[in-house]
């Protein structure tokens, strides 16, 4: 539970708000590079942190991001001509380059130097690994670029971003990523759920992947660690013999740890699969946000230019026809207005929720209906009732509020604004003997610089790191 004041502080991101100011100190991922497929391609509307923007790729291939309204008399630069290394307002021909400099003002006499006095509000862009990032903050020289794995891997090892538009405040969307326990319910297979609740053992086997994994433990134990860059935690559950390949002769009781990261200001890393990942909950404004998921592989090629656009999610869920309004970008056809295409037959026979288990759709069915008394899709945390499994949520809120207050009151920024090596972390899935020191055991796997592979398999870590006995190989090969 939060006071109304703290809730406002946490959720509001417009210009001049404390949280908005903090986010503006960071590089913000905005749109996939493929949205701007060629130099001088049509400019697009974007909205970030409550500001209406126009993004464009100029003749040199440079990305530009400017305030939508022309500084002359406020006409929309959306209609601007993108040509000859700049965006030209069609009202009176004023032209701005990607730096915001007014490079031509043909409506003024030649002897006038007025153009040197006028600037468009422009934000520096970086186009890295298929994603365009924007810096909307006050510094003349932007801070160093975030060193997440997905930004530092070779481009061909990083998939194009998968994006879902979410019709709710950014933070309530993000809180789902800090809440391990909802996996036991919302995203669960129905047979696994009945096993946990009613002790009915499932018939079918398990297969890899979160939505399809079967487990019996209904109460994960959480262990939270705060850091300079945010928070990470382990949620550990009993490792079930029934659906695992236990080696003959091994009687150790094991626990399955899911170790996830929260990184200032709005990123998470959620374990699952043999990839490195970054999930960014990027606010368009207080009521709308994107979930941008970027995945990379340390070993495999993941980028196929022929499939760069549309974003990967589109083929799975379908996006509505878009307009130039950014709120229609990446908006799934299954959405709040059609109850997310909830399928009652699936709900009766297969899954706990009949909302399709794609991307964050089931999560959105939960978070997009949370509203405050004004009807804004901003959850009112002064009315909630938190339980013992919400300690990660609480830790993340505390860290964020602490960071917001430190910045708004003392102008102290979180360490990862300037020390981007702090971004070089990873999530992990490991199976360890009961009582193991999970933080110590996974230190190398939580580091992006240790050279360790991604820890993702739900089998005892010692099976993965120790040579397999020859007889056991024969046994499991059958």
């Amino acid at each position: 539970m939060l006071s109304k004041t703290d809730n406002e502080l946490l959720t509001r991101v417009g210009p001049g708000t404390p949280m908005g100011d903090l986010m503006r100190e960071y590089w913000v991922p905005a749109l996939p590079s493929a949205e701007f497929d060629a130099p001088d391609s049509p400019p697009k509307r974007m909205r970030l942190l409550g500001e209406n923007l126009i993004m464009f790729r100029d003749s040199n291939g440079e990305m530009g991001c400017v305030a939508e309204s022309c500084p002359h008399r406020g006409a929309s630069l959306f209609f601007g001509r993108n040509e000859e290394a700049g965006l030209r307002c069609v009202y009176h021909g004023w032209k701005f380059d990607v730096s915001g400099a007014c490079v031509d003002m043909p409506s003024e006499p030649a002897e006038s130097n007025f153009k040197s006095k006028v600037r468009a509000r422009a934000y520096p862009c970086r186009d890295v690994n298929h994603m365009v990032w924007v810096y909307m903050g006050p510094r003349e020289v932007p801070p160093p670029f975030p060193a997440f794995d997905v930004n530092t891997l070779p481009p061909e090892n990083v998939a194009p971003p998968a994006i879902m538009m979410e019709e709710a405040n950014w933070f309530q969307n993000l809180e789902g990523d800090t809440d391990s326990n909802h996996l036991d319910y919302l995203h669960s297979r129905l047979d696994a759920f009945r096993w946990r609740l009613f002790d009915e053992k499932p018939q079918g086997g398990s297969r890899p992947g979160l939505f399809f994994t079967v487990w019996s433990d209904k109460m994960p134990r959480l262990d939270v660690r705060t850091t300079d860059y945010g928070v990470y935690y382990s949620a550990r559950r009993k490792w079930d013999d029934e659906f695992s390949d236990r080696r003959p002769g091994d009687n150790t009781p094991y626990e399955w740890h899911r170790i996830n990261q929260f990184i200032f200001p709005f990123h998470t890393m959620i374990t699952g699969g043999n990839t490195v990942v970054l999930r960014s909950f990027v606010p368009l404004d207080d009521n709308w946000a994107m979930l941008i998921t970027q995945r990379g592989s340390l070993t495999e090629r993941m980028y196929d230019p022929s499939k760069a656009f549309p974003t990967p999610l589109e083929s799975e869920v379908g996006f509505i026809d878009r307009t130039s309004d950014p709120r229609t970008y990446f908006m799934t056809k299954a959405n709040r207005l059609n109850d997310y295409n909830r399928d009652y037959e699936v709900e009766r026979t297969k899954m706990v929720s009949g909302v399709p288990a794609v991307g964050n759709l089931q999560d959105r069915a939960m978070t997009e209906l949370m509203a405050n008394e004004k009807g804004e899709r901003i959850y009112d945390r002064s009315r909630e009732h938190l339980g013992s499994l919400d300690i990660m949520c609480i830790a993340v809120r505390r860290q964020v509020l602490k960071a917001v207050k430190a910045y708004s009151e003392d102008r102290v920024l979180p360490a990862n604004v300037d020390n981007v090596s702090l971004d070089q972390v990873r999530p992990a899935t490991v199976v360890l003997p009961e009582g193991a020191d999970w933080a110590a055991e996974t230190e190398q796997f939580r580091s992006g610089t240790s050279g360790a592979p991604v820890a993702w398999e739900i089998k005892p870590l010692r099976y993965l790191t120790q040579a397999e006995p020859i007889e056991a190989v024969g046994g499991s090969g059958g």
Binding site: D40, S69, R73, F79, V90, Y91, H92, S107, E108, T323
Partner: protein
């Protein structure tokens, strides 16, 4: 640029505000006369200056404009029965005539005496020039009717239509006296080499208007405009305040030594502008009446001393070069803010400057979103070519402030000064040419016209 307080002052026309009260000192167009086609026709909803009203025509043919809500308990009079010289609320049968008198109150025994005490908001209406006009100010301040020359012309000399725009009236008006935008916004790419009329090195000749050239209306809906996209000169026309508003006069010497003066009407208070491409004998009048602070109804008129040719009428009503095509049954343009005016980026790259089809839509695309529906003029960067915009704002602000301090605006009391039209005249000296053009622009040609008609 304006400070925040002035921007709010000049854009806010709600009742009781300085600008709202200033508007309420003038006769204003509220409806096309054709919207009330016959006596006792269906009542029509009207929203003007943030007020919800109902217009109807009585049995005697007179138009009335009254509050949209019955003074009894606020029921909507839109559903009223319009019959026997009055509009009768269907909730309890109260009836009001076009002058706002409660003429029947049948729902209670005390009705006969009580009805005399019932006041409903009602505004006097006049039907003129195919429009219904209303005066929405205090009764004792009602001015004479403005003497627009086109009001007295035969019906076939006029063409008028209305459509709705989603922005404040002022930014929509400001496009009309923004001389530098046309050669950018309205230009066609291939014409960039043709010298601009405002280029000091242009061939000597009439610099008055941008003229559409070579247009094949059937095959090419994209208008073209003459002129390169570069302004090399300082503004030439000088502004002058008149009894009704502001005029702009430019003078230049011809090769033979004679002086030519051109006069354009920048604005007649509070909303009468004259921009728009029109033929040599055709004039335009743009009347943008605020619906509320964030939307307006645009009455766009073409008029001429001759009957408007049938081919022009067809052009106005069926093509969209002068008037945007509307969604059938509405006053909303088909290409509008919700579909980005159907901007075509391929056309923008290869054919015209905007990729938007027609002149009016190109303007509308700019004006409907200047930092939103109400332009934030604190953030502007104005140039020397914005001098008309600056001048008119100051004139409007001055009048609104004066009225707030109890000084009535003089403009409504100069009906003769609303006869100004665009003109051209010559003289031996600059001064003489300017004096001639001013006199000519104010001289009604109706007498001449009557003589010509008789001679025929």
């Amino acid at each position: 640029m304006l400070i925040k307080e002035d921007n709010e002052l000049v854009t806010n026309v709600k009742p009781g505000t300085p600008m709202g009260e200033l508007f309420r000192r003038f006769w204003l167009p509220v409806l096309l006369a054709s919207e009330l086609p016959v006596p006792d026709c269906e009542p029509v909803k009207v929203r003007i200056l943030n007020e919800d009203l109902i217009a109807f025509r009585g049995t005697d043919g007179r138009a009335g404009l009254i509050d949209a809500f019955c003074p009894h308990r606020g029921a909507p009079l839109f559903f009223g029965r319009n019959e026997e010289d009055g509009l009768r609320c269907v909730y309890h049968g109260w009836k009001f005539d076009v002058d706002g008198n409660c003429v029947d109150l049948p729902s209670a025994p005390e009705g006969e005496t009580y009805k005399q005490k019932i006041d409903i908001i009602s505004y006097p209406c006049v039907e003129a020039g195919d429009l219904i006009w209303a005066y929405m100010g205090p009764k004792e301040k009602q001015p004479p009717f403005p003497e627009f020359e086109w009001l007295s012309l035969p019906k076939e000399n006029r063409y008028v239509r209305k459509f709705k725009l989603e922005c404040n009236y002022l930014q929509a008006m400001e496009g009309d006296y923004d001389p530098s935008h046309a050669r950018f916004l309205h230009s066609k790419l291939e014409d960039a080499s043709i010298p601009s009329p405002l280029d000091p090195n242009r061939p000597v000749g009439n610099p008055a208007t941008f003229v559409p050239t070579d247009r094949d209306a059937n095959s090419d809906p994209y208008p073209r405009i003459v002129g390169n996209r570069r302004v090399l000169a300082r503004p030439m026309a000088e502004l002058e305040d008149t009894d009704s508003g502001v005029i702009a006069i430019g003078a230049m010497q011809e090769e033979d030594g004679k002086w030519q003066a051109n006069l354009n009407v920048t604005l007649m208070l509070p909303i009468f502008c004259t921009a728009g491409i029109a033929g040599p004998n055709t004039y335009s009048s743009n009347m943008r009446i605020p619906i509320d602070n964030e939307s307006l109804m645009f009455f766009r008129l073409r008029w001429s001393y001759d009957a408007i040719p049938q081919k022009d009428i067809e052009e106005y009503s069926q093509k969209d070069w002068y008037y945007p095509q509307l969604i059938p049954g509405t006053v909303i343009p088909q290409d509008n803010v919700h579909n980005n005016y159907n901007v075509n980026r391929d056309k923008q790259r290869n054919e015209n400057y905007t990729g938007i089809r027609t002149f009016p839509l190109q303007d509308i695309a700019m004006m409907e979103n200047q930092w939103g529906p109400i332009a934030d003029r604190t953030r502007e960067h104005l140039t020397s070519w914005d001098y008309m915009i600056i001048h008119v704002r100051q004139r409007l602000l001055k009048a609104a402030r004066a009225l707030a301090n109890g000084v009535e605006p003089p403009e409504p009391w100069h009906p003769e000064a609303y006869c100004y039209r665009r003109e051209q005249a010559y003289g031996a000296t600059r001064e003489e040419a300017i004096a001639n053009v001013k006199a000519k622009a104010l001289t009604t040609r109706l007498g001449e016209l009557a003589k010509a008609t008789q001679a025929r």
